[in-house]
Structures are given as structure tokens and as C-alpha cells.
């Protein structure tokens, strides 16, 4: 892509998603928008990443092995250093998105994602 199109954002986005194709494509999309991106394939890896690197927003899948999205949110909220980071839940299951919305996350989106809305939410927090 042409360099001049890329706005540089200071923020760093963490994507927590077990499906590799979904994770990498979303990372590419956000990098093309000028964000720095960190990736984790489940909740436990995400907690490790967060304790090393500050991020401005977490894009979180729900159905994942080892530590799923619900368990991740519980752990994140228990840690005062992480509890304030906004979370966008992304799930292919509309019911799970509804559950997440009721748990007070910043935004709950169904996959495939509405890219305009996603970029708006990310820009708002980063």
C-alpha cells in the first residue's frame, strides 16, 4: 500500500483469538490502519502479554481452548493493573455477544465484523 495512506497511531491493540486466519487477517487490517498489534491465541497467553506490554484496547474472542473469553474477562478484572483496559468482544455467536454485552464490555460485535464500527471503537480508545 502507499505509505502516505497510513496514519500512524500511537496505540497498541491486543487481539485474543484462537483461529489463526481470523487473528492474522484482523492484525493485518489494523496494521494497515497504522496500529501496532499484539496477538494471543487464548486468554492465558493474553494475560502474559498484557503483563509485559501495555495496550489501549483488547479485541477478544469468546470460544477458545485453554482459557476462553469469559474466563479471561474474570481474570482481567481481578487484576487492578489490567481491569481498566477496554474490551471489545468479537464472537461468531450472537447469543454469546449478547451475554458479553450484559457483562459490561466496551462493545460486543458479531463476526464477520463491521469494520467501520470496529475501527471507530478502536480509534476512540487508542
Amino acid at each position: 500500500m502507499r505509505r502516505e495512506d497510513v496514519t500512524t497511531h500511537s496505540g497498541c491493540v491486543l487481539i485474543v483469538e484462537d483461529d489463526r486466519d481470523t487473528r492474522e487477517s484482523l492484525a493485518a487490517l489494523l496494521e494497515a490502519e497504522g496500529y501496532r498489534v499484539l496477538e494471543a491465541e487464548h486468554g492465558a497467553v493474553a494475560l502474559d502479554v498484557l503483563r509485559r506490554s501495555p495496550v489501549c484496547i483488547i479485541l477478544l474472542d469468546i470460544f477458545m481452548p485453554i482459557m476462553n473469553g469469559h474466563a479471561f474477562i474474570q481474570e482481567q478484572r481481578r487484576d487492578p493493573a489490567l481491569a481498566g483496559i477496554p474490551v471489545v468482544v468479537m464472537t461468531a455467536d450472537a447469543a454469546a455477544a449478547g451475554d458479553a454485552a450484559r457483562r459490561g464490555v466496551a462493545e460486543a460485535m458479531t463476526k464477520p465484523l463491521d469494520h467501520d464500527r470496529l475501527l471507530e471503537v478502536v480509534a476512540h480508545h487508542c
Binding site: T22, S25, A28, N68, A92, A95
Partner: protein
């Protein structure tokens, strides 16, 4: 009687209901003890169960078998009406049946005997109320009348309780089916949306222009192709299952050299196995193992088993395919060193929509149709498929047996 009756019609818990009836009837009959014997729900089964005892502790009878086949006792449960005897031991029917020819040693002494059948609305004998007293001539026609009235009300209450239980079971079954359907729809929706999500993400990236980074462009294209194929396979599986459910699968049957079909499936899965670092070994007998069938469907059987094995086997594992035959049948064996299957899930692996992991935490994608399709395709070819696993962590072996063309 009517006071007890009102209470009975409100009582839906069968066990306590039967105990209440037996207690009330024993008191009304003036008996030393009373018992309620019930027939099972199945009218073909004439076994009786002692449901309640009154007036004596249960262990007074615990050592005796239920006396099902004596002439005196049986009459009550075969709709022969009330039996009221001043002294049971003097009745002509008494003592005629082996092995005890009368009451067994140790049985409470019974002279006065009253037995009243409990008959449902539909005329079936639900059970019987039996009363005894060691002294003769204790039960009067008035006692009999009271107990018959109570038995009639008890029958209504038992009918109601059984209907209530049946309705509850039906409702639970319906709720379970509904839960399974919801879970399935949720999994299907998830699995169809996931490849779409990454395709649309990549499209958005590519819409901004071809990335400077060639490897990113290649990854985008490869990923979009992979996602498309995953979705095509999902839709094919869903359509197959829909055809299976409605019995519309058609076989284009002809003699098939099985080794060719199996090799084609191995070739198709080899890149995936290699990418995952799994060794794929084949011992395929190429000497004319010929079965009658649809080559595309047989290849689908082999591919589904192989792809399942590769999916559940970790890196550095082994998937071994063997094809051989005896006089009557071909045997295709797919063995892996993967995670194996827990004993309690083994009976369910071929059921539709069954996956060992709960959706929220599962490590593997898929909608749980592959093995159900395998079983159905094998069976319409006149064959069988079996699964064996010594438990989680020990690998799994699937064996398909197909009759040879004679």
C-alpha cells in the same frame, strides 16, 4: 375416606402417596399389617414390587421373595376382585404352590386375609393392597367396603401421578432436544461465520491496495482460499446430513478397487498432515480389493477418517492407514497416536452433532458431522464401522469393514 381421598388427589409424588394409602387402609381395615404391591408400567411384565408396608418394620419381610405365583396371591393382580378370608390357611387355594406350600418359615402369622386390587381408569390392575391379622375372622364386610373405596381413590391418584410423571419425562425430553438443537445451531452459525470473518478481514486489507509486503499478500490469498474450502466442506457436510436424515443419499454403485480410493484420500490429506508435522504411514494392499459402491462416497469415508485422525493428533504424532482383505470383507483401519477418546464418549462418536468438547472451550473446529456421515455411508454400502480407544491420550483406531464383491 374422603378426607384421605382429597389429600391423595393433591399428592403427586408416587412413593409417599402409596405409603399414605397403605397406612390409611391398614388402619381402616383394622389389620395388624398391610402392604402395597405394584405392577410395573409395562403390562407384559407381571413382576410385582413391594412399594409400601404398614404396621410392621420393612425388615420383617425383607428376607422373603415377593410371592408372585401362588394361587391366593395372584388372584388380586389378575382382576379376580377382592379376596377376603376369615382364615387364609383354611382356604382351598392355600398351600398348593411350590416351593413353600404356604407361608415360608419365619413369615408373620396371618389368619385373617384381605386383598383388594387397585384398578386404573383404563381397567388395568396397577397393584394390590394386602392386609393380614394373626387372629382369624378380623375383617368385616364394612372393613372391605372402606378399603375398596380407598383403593378406588388411590387408583385415580396413582393414575394422575403416573400421567404427571410421563408428562414430566416428555417435557424433559423435549427440552433436551430443544437444547441440543440450539447448541447445534449455535455451533453451525459459529463455524460458518468464522471463515467468513477472516475472508472479509483480508478483503478489507486488500481493498486498501496490494500490501508492499509480498509475504503478507500471499498469506492473504492462501488464507482466503483455505477459509473458502473450509466453508464449502461445511456446507457439503450439512447437505449430506440433510440427505441422510431424509433418506435421499443416492449411490452411484459399481465395482470399486478400494486401494485407489484410499490412496486418493491419503494424497488429499498428506499436505495437511505434513503442515502439522504428523507422519502419515500407509500399508495399502493394492491387489484387487474390490467392493461394490460409490467411489466418491467411499473416498469421502476414507478422507473423513483420515482428516479426523490428523485433526486430533498433535505434531510429531503418527497416523497409520492399512487396507487389507480376508475371504469375505475388506478392512480399512485408520489408527492415530492422538488424544484418544474417553470411554464414556466412545458410544457417541458416530452420533450427529456430538463432539467430546463443550463448544465454549474446544480446541477443534467442526460441527461434529464427519463421523456420523462415515457411519451412514459405510452402512448403506452394507458395511460396518467400529471405533476403539484405550482412553484419553492413547490414540484411536477406526475400522471400516466392507463386503467384497464375490
Amino acid at each position: 375416606v374422603s378426607r384421605v381421598g382429597r389429600r391423595l388427589s393433591a399428592e403427586l409424588d408416587l412413593d409417599s402417596l402409596v405409603q399414605d394409602v397403605t397406612d390409611a387402609a391398614t388402619a381402616l381395615a383394622g389389620a395388624q399389617f398391610g402392604a402395597f404391591f405394584a405392577k410395573g408400567d409395562d403390562p407384559r411384565d407381571d413382576a410385582l414390587t413391594l412399594l409400601a408396608l404398614s404396621g410392621v418394620p420393612r425388615d420383617a419381610f425383607a428376607s422373603f421373595p415377593v410371592p408372585r405365583d401362588t394361587d391366593v396371591f395372584r388372584a388380586t393382580f389378575t382382576d379376580k376382585g377382592v379376596v377376603r378370608l376369615a382364615d387364609v390357611t383354611k382356604d382351598p387355594r392355600y398351600g398348593r404352590n411350590a416351593p413353600h406350600r404356604g407361608m415360608p418359615p419365619g413369615h408373620l402369622r396371618v389368619a385373617s386375609y384381605l386383598a383388594v386390587p387397585v384398578v386404573s381408569r383404563s381397567g388395568d390392575v396397577l397393584g394390590g393392597l394386602l392386609f393380614g391379622h394373626p387372629a382369624p375372622d378380623m375383617f368385616t364386610p364394612r372393613n372391605e367396603q372402606l378399603v375398596v373405596g380407598l383403593a378406588a381413590q388411590a387408583a385415580v391418584a396413582i393414575d394422575n401421578a403416573r400421567l404427571f410423571e410421563a408428562a414430566q419425562r416428555a417435557r424433559e425430553a423435549a427440552e433436551e432436544a430443544s437444547r441440543a438443537k440450539d447448541e447445534f445451531l449455535s455451533v453451525v452459525s459459529h463455524e460458518l461465520r468464522t471463515p467468513l470473518a477472516s475472508m472479509l478481514n483480508w478483503l478489507k486489507v486488500l481493498q486498501k491496495g496490494r500490501p508492499d509486503d509480498d509475504s503478507r499478500f500471499e498469506r492473504a490469498v492462501a488464507s482466503m482460499e483455505r477459509s473458502t474450502r473450509i466453508q464449502v466442506k461445511l456446507i457439503d457436510d450439512l447437505l449430506d446430513v440433510s440427505r441422510i436424515v431424509s433418506g435421499r443419499i443416492r449411490l452411484d454403485a459399481r465395482p470399486v478397487v478400494l486401494s485407489g480410493v484410499v490412496r486418493a484420500a491419503i494424497d488429499a490429506i498428506a499436505p495437511t498432515a505434513e503442515a502439522k508435522g504428523i507422519r502419515l504411514e500407509a500399508a495399502v494392499d493394492s491387489n484387487g480389493v474390490v467392493v461394490a459402491g460409490d467411489p466418491d462416497r467411499l473416498q469421502q469415508v476414507a478422507w473423513n477418517l483420515l482428516s479426523n485422525a490428523v485433526k486430533f493428533t498433535p505434531a510429531a504424532g503418527l497416523v497409520h492407514v492399512a487396507l487389507d482383505a480376508d475371504d469375505a470383507a475388506a478392512h480399512l483401519v485408520v489408527r492415530d497416536t492422538g488424544r484418544g477418546i474417553a470411554a464414556d464418549f466412545l458410544p457417541h462418536v458416530f452420533e450427529r452433532f456430538q463432539q467430546a468438547d463443550a463448544a465454549a472451550t474446544r480446541a477443534q473446529s467442526g460441527i461434529g458431522l464427519g463421523l456420523a456421515i462415515v457411519r451412514h455411508l459405510v452402512e448403506i454400502h452394507g458395511g460396518t464401522v467400529a471405533v476403539a480407544s484405550a482412553g484419553e491420550g492413547t490414540g484411536t483406531t477406526f475400522t471400516v469393514t466392507l463386503p467384497l464383491v464375490s
